[in-house]
């Protein structure tokens, strides 16, 4: 296993691994998504307080968890790139940023759409909502900083430091509903969370689908990034000339 990971630091092998992994992420994503949607929209009963409006939780909670998980992966991969100078870790960090930003936008929008019928407002300056909005700005700052340099090495260095500093926001988001008296409800997973087994199954399925979606997007985007970075090497020339579009 360790040897396999070490071999991935070679761009050519990493590219091949991404190609091989794509169907292994795509089909489970589709499968978990379809069963998850069925469970979320049909099998799960209506909530006793929120009626059918609570069903937004099945996209809101997984995307919110992913928005934080992807940030952690991005910062850790960036850190690995900084410390061990592994270029492929820089690639994973860079391509994760737009995906994480998209998950953050889904979490914010689905939360706003849920807030309107339940709270009577699309947006409030609640600690949970504000810290999640800061997460979106961190992603955007990371992406623009990464694009601001011509040299990919300098770009990765500067943006990785930003990502690592921004890590302090993750515990703030997670504990915001405990530390402050927020309008946002408490945890949906664990004690005090969803009680109905069908709701828990639906949430778990949608969460697993989201992880596969993230992995799928990473392998697709990473391939593009590797091709551009390694465009002067022999194997990229062979790969590109052999590619059928």
């Amino acid at each position: 296993m360790w040897k396999w990971i070490q071999r991935q630091s070679s761009p050519k092998i990493f590219y091949q691994t991404c190609t091989n992994l794509t169907p292994w992420f795509f089909w489970p994503f589709i499968g978990f998504l379809l069963v998850g949607l069925y469970w979320a929209l049909i099998v799960s009963p209506a909530d006793y307080q929120q009626g059918d409006g609570y069903r937004i939780i099945f996209v809101h909670v997984p995307s919110a968890i992913l928005s934080m998980m992807v940030y952690a992966v991005m910062a850790i991969a960036g850190g690995i790139g900084l410390i061990w100078q592994i270029k492929m870790a820089e690639v994973v960090a860079k391509v994760s940023a737009p995906i994480g930003a998209a998950f953050t936008i889904i979490a914010l929008v689905s939360g706003a759409v849920w807030g309107k019928p339940m709270w009577g407002a699309w947006w409030v300056w609640d600690a949970r909502l504000t810290s999640e909005l800061i997460l979106l700005f961190l992603y955007l700052a990371y992406m623009s900083l990464n694009n601001a340099f011509d040299n990919p090495k300098t770009a990765a260095k500067a943006s990785s430091i930003l990502a690592i500093v921004g890590l302090v926001n993750l515990p703030v988001i997670h504990y915001s509903v405990k530390w402050w008296n927020t309008l946002h409800q408490g945890y949906s997973v664990g004690t005090g969370g969803l009680k109905d087994p069908d709701m828990q199954i639906a949430l778990a399925l949608m969460f697993v689908a989201s992880i596969f979606l993230y992995a799928l997007l990473v392998v697709i985007k990473a391939k593009t990034e590797v091709l551009i970075r390694e465009q002067n090497s022999r194997w990229v020339k062979d790969e590109v000339s052999g590619a059928i579009l």
Binding site: I56, L213, T224, V240
Partner: protein
Amino acid sequence: MTMVEYFSFLPYGKYAFYVWLAYGVSAITVITLFVSAKRNHKKAIMSLKNKYSRS
């Protein structure tokens, strides 16, 4: 007639507008991500092909 009333014929009645709006926005975001990732990859291959054929 408000949007909420207009869409109340769909499943989930008075919440239909909100539930389907949230699912719709999420679906569009995910599809956009996927399609743009695929398209960027093709674009990169095309531009590299051009670059190599020129040199």
